[in-house]
Subunit: 372 residues, 2 copies
Amino acid sequence: MGDPLTSVGTPSLLIDLDAFDANLTAMAAFAARHGVALRPHAKAHKSSEIAKRQIAAGAAGVCCQKLSEAYPFAAAGIASIHVSNEFVGADKIAMAVELASHTRLSVCVDALTQVRALGEAAARASVTLDVLPEIDAGQHRCGVTSVDALFALVDEIAAHDALKFTGIQAYHGGIQHVADWDARKTAAAHAAEITAHYVQALDTRGVRCAIVTGGGTGTVEFDAASGVYNELQPGSYLFMDGDYGGLGWDGELRWRHSLFVLSTVMSATRPGMAVCDVGLKGLAVDSGLPRSAIWIDAGTEAELSYVAANDEHGMLRAQSKPQEDVAALVGKRLLLPPGHCDPTVNLYDEYVCYRGERVADIWPIDARGMSR
Amino acid sequence: MGDPLTSVGTPSLLIDLDAFDANLTAMAAFAARHGVALRPHAKAHKSSEIAKRQIAAGAAGVCCQKLSEAYPFAAAGIASIHVSNEFVGADKIAMAVELASHTRLSVCVDALTQVRALGEAAARASVTLDVLPEIDAGQHRCGVTSVDALFALVDEIAAHDALKFTGIQAYHGGIQHVADWDARKTAAAHAAEITAHYVQALDTRGVRCAIVTGGGTGTVEFDAASGVYNELQPGSYLFMDGDYGGLGWDGELRWRHSLFVLSTVMSATRPGMAVCDVGLKGLAVDSGLPRSAIWIDAGTEAELSYVAANDEHGMLRAQSKPQEDVAALVGKRLLLPPGHCDPTVNLYDEYVCYRGERVADIWPIDARGMSR
């Protein structure tokens, strides 16, 4: 604590707390203003320290994407966890039942067999689970594709005393990343329309759908305004990344990049090129390479692009610099904003949090690697 | 131990021990037959259990790519570790000196400042380090680019009693992945020619170059035959991956896929598509998606392709199967061969080793995440 960033070992995963706090507060205020519950997706940060801060700022609970991911959050006392994904198998059912004895757990289903297995296991363990069938809101990934299939799930849930139908899960991941604001708005409206169709069908049948949960960072303004969702699940808003940062943002909200990988230049033997110590094992590249690099060493002015990632090497193009000039970059440090925050976070065991270029906190990434 | 693969939690990282043993033995025998030392690259497996097996099969030691990566290997008693990469900064120098007090450590350099810092720190700590300047064998990444620069490093090393010049590092990563066998042979010959140029210059100057280390899985037959290298650094041969598996292999060696991610189908609500529980957080996709999927459940016959990775979802195209048929796949398990082994390994904490579809061993991936 208090150490300058220039003394932190590299690679490290850094959080700029000023930007982080601004994002945390902005989303909490946005949800409150629009009268929707906020249940941030913890798969983005995988850290109970961050979940606690989201709850303190007003979140109703968190989402996890896997059952094992939920364990550290339950252990840290997060009282309401929604597993926004399907799971199958006796080991997974046992995990759900175990979690439900420690926290208020809700889970997603899209198959009758899973409802039956859950209902029987929960009854045997004398626990209660909230169950939200997932509907396919247009992503064509998981979720039921017809009202009849939804009704069948609702009926099966009702047949188990240990299960409680509390609403539906309706998330469309693909539309989060539509670059153009208006095109994203249209896509979000279409997903909301599909979702509304299911909600209305339940209503007509006399089934109360207390929770309609979904939405993400890219569509959160449209989702809140739709009147369809009453709970939102954004995750990446806390950090942002190259992918989200490259989208059009024409609404009321603005997000700041708060997540960076700290790297050191460790070799520079040829004109116009330098090599830093962060590659594929320190940066997820599925959504592209870091689009910019920020020097943290005073006085260093270098126009520089991260152009290729090897396993443990990052190739930096230092424009037309002669060899003497790039050699002077060796030992200098830079902040790289990841192209995709979620899988980058999953490579590290802790966040080094900083304010004003001084280390302010260390937060464990206690759900790292928890993919079961 | 003894459990069937159908009871192992998913996702899990699996090693087929029959294939693994065949690869381990084949490379050890190959190196012995050609009279070259084998120093396998531990960045591929990050496991001291595997390093011990490589040493037992005749390896001279292991390579690591980062200093922190070397720690678990030193702690496990691996007596000779070569860090085949540059590093910079007081914290890294301190790590090198600490490691050198526990194992025979060799390191790479390509800058005079690093040699000086190492020499001073090693002298203060009364340890000795073997130092191998890296030469740029054509990859244009790290390494000196002239004989004069190499001579300057050799002279500086000689000026420090705590440092010992033992040879040169000459690795070209890019040519490992040239698909065509003959084209790869030509590329390897060119890299060997560059390397030989530096070795001859040292010889002419009266400097003995005891170790010429380099080479990788893709070029190992050419490297051994070149007469230039006397130590080889292959890593991926133990596991293979989609990238290496897609290359032409026209020589004396054949490798088997021994590394797989075990996954479960957890949703299938639409015709021709299923969803499994392994995505970006369980599979590195930088070198492509899994090119095949092997069902481990008896009686399941499905032509199926892994077509997209979301964070925790793998999209499987099940050809023209109707919905009833894909629904029957839910709960079934499959083995996915990763596109790129190294960064996939870096996502897991342990290997589940199996023989004949029964769990035979669990090996910790004790250097996972060690990128400093």
